[in-house]
């Protein structure tokens, strides 16, 4: 099974650290309120550190595989999710690149189906070439499998 590009760690880590700092405002303010200034460096560090650890776990748990008639995805830290998306159910595939992704040469794919919970299956952390080739491959597989069907609903 394939893992994501290691560069995604940077993007995830950055947002985890920023989020962590924002979260640490609460305990930080509490520490100030209770006249415990010595606590401040600890409260400021705790959440970002947890965020970085979480990012590593997140990367480790992300796997995907293109199988004979479906895509298989595995991801999650607190809630582990495994998804099977049949090719014949793929409506269309988007490749998207956010600002940070463009800086690091990454993309992510969004696979659309008609379902609700799996309605947009996202595969992050793909290199540009991988994203393009995966997009093309899935599109071909989706069209090929739809040969037997009318509409994919």
């Amino acid at each position: 099974m394939r893992q994501l590009e290691k560069k995604i760690l940077y993007i995830w880590a950055i947002s985890a650290v920023i989020g962590g700092f924002l979260l640490s405002l609460v305990p930080g303010l509490l520490a100030l309120a209770f006249e415990a200034r010595w606590l401040l460096p600890i409260t400021v560090m705790v959440f970002p550190v947890i965020g970085v650890l979480y990012t590593f776990l997140r990367y480790r748990n992300w796997r995907y595989e293109v199988r004979d008639d479906h895509i298989y995805l595995e991801h999650g830290v607190l809630v582990k999710t495994r998804t099977m998306v049949p090719f014949v159910r793929i409506q269309h595939i988007d490749s998207q690149r956010g600002a940070l992704e463009r800086l690091t040469g990454l993309s992510h794919l969004v696979v659309y189906t008609a379902g609700s919970r799996g309605a947009d299956v996202t595969v992050p952390g793909l290199s540009r070439e991988d994203a393009e080739s995966l997009q093309k491959k899935l599109r071909d597989l989706a069209i090929e499998s739809e040969g037997e069907q009318g509409d994919a609903v």
Partner: protein
């Protein structure tokens, strides 16, 4: 074809009403001259709206060709919309009281992609609405399977069921919630000063009864009006339904768009042998989501009648469900005991700091927690049938879902960190047309992980085989 002429004054009136309200509230207190000027201004705007609506009507045309529904509209910028007939999922006709008096209806055309009403005709005459529905469904099939003259409904809500529906329409959870709040209040009264005890208990009881009665009556009346005259007809490749006393609902559902069937009952219905049936399709918009999937839902019927209707629509066999993992009980007992502990702590603290509170009473919550966990477990189950997958969940609102394998969109298993400790997993059979709030995917919770893995493989295998059979 054109929209009905009566839509011009009706739409003008609707717009004008709002204006009139604004005018009346803002100008009424000022001096006569301002009132006159304001009045003239209002009349001018009203005229403007009238002219606009006339022009809109004049420039609005729709046509049903062999393979598309065409709508041409627009006063300044012309717009042509062509909806391929085969993309149309449902044609919904509705009219409220005023529209009904005027003899006009609103026609909504729904398609699968987009999740919105694709097109809306406001407003056509009632005969035209029926014509549209007929013509579109006829165009959709090459073979005309319409049984002309056969008005035997597939399902008809009889008077007893309608009456029972109105009575059963109280939300049991609301009553339970009120009961709970009042029982907490009981803790206050048994510990209070003697002289006020009887009076406050009496007042509490009266308040409780009045609240419940009011909620009950309101929902009963609204339900009666909505489901009066409910019928479902089998029209070959589609189902037609109609219902409503004040606001009439009519529509058709192509059978091939039916995603799944859901039987739902509350404990009271179950005890008396009743159930409800929802026909889930893909293609309802968020706009009509208040009655999403419930447009053609059978709100109540005897269990046999509902089951028979379900089997007529989807050919499944009598459900025989397998239970979920026994370890799941541990999760539920823990969850409910935690809630009991929280409440007990709350009661203890209240007694300590706020007022006298007989928190010891709350200890009765623990055996209740045990019972609740047991009940929750008992009301969960699943079955793999020949062509259908069945799931059941819930006690207060028990949902049994019947879904054909070929309707699978995605197959998802997930487990939280707590579930992983007990080696449990949830399995979701993702279908089209669910939004996770009002309609839910067929799901099984807390399966043993090995069972879940085997189940995942066999469901997907059934899906593969079903795809080959279909067409």
């Amino acid at each position: 074809m054109k929209l009905d002429k009566r839509s011009i004054p009706y739409k003008t009136g609707k717009g004008g009403l709002i204006l009139a309200a604004i005018f009346a509230t803002s100008v009424s207190s000022l001096n006569p001259l301002i009132f006159l000027i304001g009045g003239l201004f209002f009349l001018l705007v009203f005229m403007f709206i009238l002219v606009y609506q006339y022009l809109h009507w004049k420039n609005f045309e729709y046509e049903i060709t062999d393979d598309s529904f065409d709508i041409r509209s627009g006063i300044i910028s012309r717009q042509t919309r062509e909806i391929p007939i085969h993309r149309i999922q449902n044609i919904d006709i509705s009219h409220n009281l005023i529209e009904r008096i005027l003899g006009i209806s609103q026609v909504n055309i729904e398609t699968a992609g987009g999740g919105q009403t694709e097109a809306s005709l406001k407003y056509v005459s009632e005969e035209d609405a029926k014509t549209i529905q007929d013509r579109v469904s006829r165009r959709k099939r090459s073979i005309e399977e319409e049984e002309a003259g056969d008005d035997q409904p597939m399902f008809k809500l009889d008077n007893r069921e309608l009456a029972l529906l109105s009575v059963f329409s109280i939300d049991l959870r609301a009553v339970a919630g009120i009961l709970f709040l009042f029982s907490l209040g009981g803790g206050f009264f048994t510990a209070g000063p003697e002289q006020y005890q009887t009076v406050s208990v009496l007042i509490t009881m009266i308040l409780f009864l009045v609240t419940v009665l009011a909620v009950w009556t309101a929902s009963a009346l609204s339900t009666f009006a909505r489901y009066y005259g409910f019928k479902i007809f089998d029209r070959g490749n589609e189902l037609r339904y109609e219902r409503g006393l004040i606001q009439e609902f009519k529509g058709s559902i192509p059978k091939e768009k039916i995603q799944s069937l859901t039987f739902e009952e509350n404990p009271l219905m179950r005890y008396f042998g009743f159930s409800s049936l929802k026909i889930e399709t893909a293609g309802y918009s968020a706009e009509t989501s208040l009655q999403k999937g419930a447009e053609a839902a059978v709100p109540i019927a005897t269990r046999n009648k509902a089951l028979k209707l379900g089997k007529d629509i989807e050919k499944f066999s009598e459900p025989e469900l397998n239970p979920i993992s026994r370890d799941a009980k541990k999760r539920y007992w823990f969850r409910y005991s935690m809630t009991a502990t929280l409440l007990l702590t709350g009661g203890f603290l209240t007694d300590l700091h706020i007022t006298d509170f007989n928190y010891v009473l709350l200890l009765t919550l623990y055996p209740l927690a045990f019972l609740a966990g047991e009940i929750k477990w008992r009301n969960r189950g699943y079955q793999e049938q020949q062509n259908h997958f069945i799931t059941m969940n819930g006690f207060w609102n028990r949902r049994t879902s019947i879904v054909p394998y070929y309707r699978l969109q995605n197959l998802i298993t997930s487990s939280t960190i707590f579930q992983r400790r007990l080696d449990l997993e949830n399995l979701t059979f993702d279908v089209a047309g669910t939004d996770g709030i009002l309609t839910r995917n067929p799901e099984i919770f807390d399966l043993n992980r090995k069972t879940s893995e085997k189940l995942r493989e066999s469901i997907f295998e059934s899906f593969r085989n079903s795809k080959l059979d279909k067409k």
